[in-house]
Each structure stands twice: as C-alpha cells, then as structure tokens.
C-alpha cells in the first residue's frame, strides 16, 4: 500500500459535490453534511462555550449556582398526523426531551407557528389540543408564542418551532463529553419505531406495519434514573440520524470508542422487516420517545431496574460499552462475532435500488 498523499491541487473531481454552495435535503439529515454545516456556517460567527459544548440543550449559569438549560427545535413533518402522534405532540416532546437530556427539569415552553394560507382551523385546533395534552403529561407550561401566516404554497400546512427552558440541580453534569471507558450504554426501548411509522403514514412503504410512533416526553423517566444514581454520564435522544448518529457524536465528544453488541439491540419485527425491504439500517432511523444513556457500570443494574419500572423505560436494555479505543469511533460486534464500523451517514438515507 502506498503512503503517498494525493495532491489536492490536481484536478480531482469536476463536481462541487460537497454541496457547500446550496442547501440540499442532506443538510437536515442529522448526518455528516449537517455536522459540517453547523461547524462551518453556524459555529464561527456565533461561538460561545454553551453552544460549542454541542449538547441537545445549552447550559448557562445565570447567578451563583443557578443554571438554566435552554433548547429549541423546529418541527416540519409530513403528514401532520400519523399513528401515535402529530406535529403538536412532537413539538412539545422534542423540546422537553432536549432540555431533559442535559439532566435539567423542563419548566416552560414557547411556541411559534408558521401557518400556510388555507389551512383548516379545525386542524390547528386539533394540533394545539395535542400540544396541551403533551405539556400536561410532561408537567410544563407553554407561556408565550407567535403566529405568522405565509401565502398558499410557501409552507406545507403548518410548521411549529418550540423553545424550552429548564432548571439544573447544582452539581449535575451530564453531557456528550462525559462518557468514560468502562461505562455501559443503555437504550430505553426499541429503535426505529417513529421513522418507520411516519414513512408508512406518508404512503412510502407500500405495505402495512401497524407501527405507532414512539413519541413521548422522557423527563419523568430521566428524573427516575437520576433519583437512583449520580453516575448517569451522558443522555441523548436519538432523533434524526438515529442511534448511530447520536452514539457517533458521543464517541467524538468524549474521544472514546463505543462498541455495540448487534444481538442485544432491540428492534421490533415490523421495523426490521421494513428496513429489510427498503435497504435501511434501524440504527439510523429516527426515534422520538427513546433515550440513550451512558452510565457508570457499577450503577448500570440499578439504573436499568428503575427504568424498567418507569413508563417509557419498560424495555430498557444494555446494548454496548465504552472503551478507550478507537477514540471517536462507533463499532458494532456482529452476530457472527466480527466487528465493523458504524459511521455517520453522509446525508439522507436513500432507499436501495434492489
């Protein structure tokens, strides 16, 4: 094998293939293109310590010992209603979960609505009722909002953007850079339910699965976990890009290797079957009611037991562990005993031809 590095000056590829000049769908996929966009476009002008921590919520100290976690999330989903939820429930749970993933207690939300001219008000009422129900379950209040209407054709019915604020207990430090060699990786339940349920609702599957989205507020589950252990090092909700992307981020932030055991990853038969048909990998499919926890191994049994007694954590299971090397990499031990890399996706996950 050669060690020669190809010259960057020579004509390499005639194409502007990085899509650095125009936004394409892949920039919103949760994969490498999105990571590059954040690193190249957002970080340089906006950089500050809370932002650069790169967690689901920014954490700031506003006076001695009082720390707030703030997160924001824009929701664009088609269709607006799907089995197991709708855009309203999604917009509340998504932000509640992001605030909770740094160990904070979510308290208040704001909500901005972008409405397309011609939208039925009855649809909006249904969505807002759903937001109210989700907020009640999460024990948060929506205390302010904004409404904009755009011309017909300039939006897809309804977009919602929510911002959440939560309070952090003194001494709590949970974040992507806290994973340590020896830690166990826990997932709170089966992977891929939301992504496949939405694909089905969109009519993209061509067959029926009876799957429901897993959308749920996870703050009570997290509070239960924290009540039995102070060794919860990392929490993350594997939304867009799925568990593979979330775990890759953690491996990079903590500069550790994460090794998953393929046989212990929980995937429902219907999700596995849909993925087989489409050539997808459940590790990359979105979840909206699941969390990944990296915890000290001595506390793992206690945390697992507590999770299994708590709503939305009944099927919690250990799926892997943290090791020193290779730093920044997610690996998978296959059922056959071999090992392979699980990388970030470049952009969108594309259905395979055959």
């Amino acid at each position: 094998m050669t060690n020669k590095t190809p010259s960057v000056e020579s004509p390499i590829c005639p194409l502007p293939r990085r899509h650095s000049d125009k936004i394409v769908q892949g920039h919103g996929s949760g994969g490498k293109m999105m990571a590059d966009l954040i690193k190249d476009v957002f970080y340089p002008p906006l950089a500050n310590p809370a932002l650069l921590a790169g967690d689901d919520a920014g954490v700031v100290e506003i006076s001695d010992g009082v720390r707030l976690a703030i997160s924001t999330d824009a929701h664009v989903v088609s269709p607006l209603f799907f089995p197991g939820g709708d855009i309203g429930k999604l917009s509340v749970c998504g932000t509640v979960n992001d605030v909770a993933m740094v160990g904070a207690r979510p308290l208040y939300l704001s909500a901005s609505f972008i409405l397309e001219e011609g939208l039925d008000i009855s649809i909006l009422e249904k969505v807002v009722t759903s937001m109210k129900e989700a907020a009640d379950e999460a024990e948060v209040q929506i205390i302010c909002g904004d409404t904009k209407v755009v011309a017909h054709g300039e939006a897809d019915g309804l977009y919602i953007s929510t911002t959440g604020i939560g309070l952090l207990e003194p001494g709590r430090s949970i974040g992507g850079s806290q994973a340590k060699p020896g830690d166990q990786v826990i997932v709170s339940g089966s992977l891929g339910d939301h992504g496949i349920a939405v694909l089905e609702a969109r009519g993209d599957l061509g067959f029926e699965t009876n799957l429901e989205s897993d959308i749920a507020p996870l703050n009570h589950l997290i509070r239960a976990m924290l009540s039995v252990s102070d060794k919860v090092h990392v929490l993350r909700d594997p939304t867009r890009g799925g568990a593979a992307s979330a775990l890759n981020e953690i491996a990079k932030q903590s500069q550790v290797g994460i090794i998953l055991d393929e046989g212990s990853i929980p995937v429902k038969p219907a999700v596995a079957a849909a993925c087989e048909m489409l050539g997808f990998d459940p590790l990359y499919i979105a979840n909206e009611g699941k969390l990944i926890a990296v915890v000290g191994s001595e506390d793992a049994p206690r945390i697992l037991e507590k999770m299994r007694q708590t709503r939305y954590g009944e099927d919690a299971v250990v799926i892997g562990q943290v090791e020193e090397s290779p730093p920044g990499r997610l690996l998978l031990k296959t059922r056959l005993g071999s090992t392979r890399i699980v990388d970030l996706l470049a952009g969108e996950m594309l259905p395979r031809i055959c």
């Binding site: 094998m1 050669t2 060690n3 020669k4 590095t5 190809p6 960057v8 020579s10 004509p11 390499i12 590829c13 005639p14 194409l15 502007p16 293939r17 990085r18 899509h19 125009k22 936004i23 394409v24 769908q25 892949g26 490498k32 293109m33 590059d36 993209d204 061509g206 038969p269 596995a272 079957a273 087989e276 489409l278 050539g279 090397s325 290779p326 730093p327 920044g328 990499r329 690996l331 296959t334 059922r335 056959l336 005993g337 071999s338 090992t339 392979r340 890399i341 699980v342 990388d343 996706l345 470049a346 952009g347 594309l350 259905p351 395979r352 031809i353 055959c354």
Partner: protein, 370 residues
Amino acid sequence: MKYLTEYRDADLVHGLINKIKEITTQHWTLMEICGGQTHSIIKNGLDQLLPDQIELVHGPGCPVCVTPLELIDKALAIASKPDVIFTSYGDMLRVPGSQADLFSVRARGGDIRVVYSPLDAVKLAQENPDKEVVFFAIGFETTAPANVMSVLQADQLGLDNFSILVSHVRVPQAIEAILSSPHNRVQGFLAAGHVCAVMGYWEYIPLAKKYNIPMTITGFEPLDIAQGILTTVESLEAGTCEVKNAYIRAVSKKGNQSAQAVINKVFEECDRKWRGIGLIPGSGWRLRPLYTKYDAEKRFQVETIQAEESPLCISGLVLQGQKKPDQCEAFGTLCTPENPLGATMVSDEGACAAYYRYRTQTPDSREKGL
C-alpha cells in the same frame, strides 16, 4: 422476518466457515458479482472470518456504480427541464455527473422524486397529464421486469407523457469481459442470486466451460454466502469447473420464463458503456423500435451528451476486481461518501462505500492509507 433469521444463524455460519478452513489447501481468489453480496459480506464481517487463503474481490454488480457518467449527465439535463417530473430509485440521486448530481438539480427547483417502483412513476404520469414523467431505468436483470412492465402499462393506458431513460446492463457479458482480460485474477465466481432468479443460470454453463472456472449461484444472507464460498472452494480444490446452485430456494436453471418473455418483448440487446470499465459488447438492453416513443433520450434529444471520468478514481479497477477500495490513493481522504469521486463510493452497494462504512479502521490508519 421469518425465513431470514434462519439464514443469519451464527452457529451454522461458523460451521460452514470451519468446513471452508478444513478443505482449503492453497490461495484462491473468488469474486462475488453482486453489490448486494459485497454489502452483506462487509456488513456482517464475513471476510474477517474466512481463512487468509480465501481472497474475495468485489465485482461490478452494483447498478448505480456502473451507470456511465454521460447517462447521469443526460438524466441531469432531462430533470432540469421545467415541465418534467424526474423519478428515480433513491440511491441514484447522489451519483455525480460531470457538473452536478440530481440533489443539486432538485435544490435548483427540479422536480425530482424518489419512487420505489417504476409503476409508481406510471401512476404519477396518469395523475399529472400536463407534465412529462421520466423514470431512470437502470439496473441489471433484476430490475428489468418491473422496468419493462412500466412501459407496457403506459402503452396499455395510452399515456403519451411517460418515458424511461434506459441504462440496463447484464451480468454474463460482464463476467466474460473480466475473464477475457489479460489481468484477470479471479478463479471462481459467486454468481448473483437475484439476477439468476429472473434469468436462470443456463447462460453461465458455457462460460464456465470456456474459461474453465467454477461458478456458484449464491444468495445474500451470511449463510447463503458462506455456502456459496464453500461450494466454489470445493470445486476449485477438486479441479472442476461446473455451475452449481447454492440458492435453490429462489433460483432454477431456466429462471422466471414469463419475466424473460416480457423483457424480450420490450428490450433488445445492445452494446453498453460501464462506468469505470468501458464499452462491453452486447452487455446492455435498450428499448425495441416498437417502444422507442417511450425512450427519454430521444424524446428530450439528449443522445449527443458525452462525458469523461475523473482520472484519480480507480473504480473501474475496483469493479473488475483488480484493486481493493482501500488500495486507492483517494480512499477515505479525497473520496468519501459525502464527496465521492466515483460511483463505487456513492451507492450503498458500491464496494468503496461498503469499505468506508464497515471496515474497522481507525481514522489514523485511514489517513496513513494503511
């Protein structure tokens, strides 16, 4: 998922691997033809389990990878037209043409839609009579039946706003091109199970005789592939050159004859360029004269578009089994799935992409090109 998990049973796979180890007495180079098999081998780490003497090289059986550059350019030209809905299998969207890819055409306002079947494209044509609907009909023998059915269905419905951009390729001619090359190192083939499910394997028997080489019709699950390798190594060790079927649950010698009949009704043989390899005589299918009104190249007058490849990309050598993806200077550095130089890095089934995603290499070793 029933009938799949059985073919992933670790104990059974290890049993076959042990048999391969027992009977192997020397170095053998095998090629798996199909990109789906490459994907499965790397995803399951099967090659890590094989004895060192068994070398797998990855064949040209990824339809996305071998679609020639100029055809991508033709697709981009058609998709950029304002009155066109351009439909494609998902993984073609990222394949680079000379100037852009379908993603960038979509970002500039092109109406490009991913469909899961060409019949969905026919439906779109019915629903949008004021638009031209074009389907990007690429693939091997596996996708041909559905692609020709779309033409027959459009014909039956009397649709004059539907056409297909055809780049069909065939496996036996590719195998012959590899075997007749003076640089060939392949000693045994795992033939592509899905292709043979449609076409049967009668075409391979004279090839195996002519080039004195064993071939095994092989499936896609770990157990299928281990069985295919075992059968091929058995033949090699015994010095025989038969075509054997290790995928009997899907493949018969004659194949699916009604599928072959509709293919023959709509398509005829033609010479075809393969990306990275070049022209292989008789290796393609195109629409018969009776159906040329469904030929998007003619309808949109893009027949004259021509294009040249990136000189750095060795995907041609990878597709012919002469080089491994990580023997490319650009692998993992200048050429990555986000910034692919060649199609083998673009498609999920491409050998370079499979190596990039699944190979256990630290970033360090990759940077050093080890």
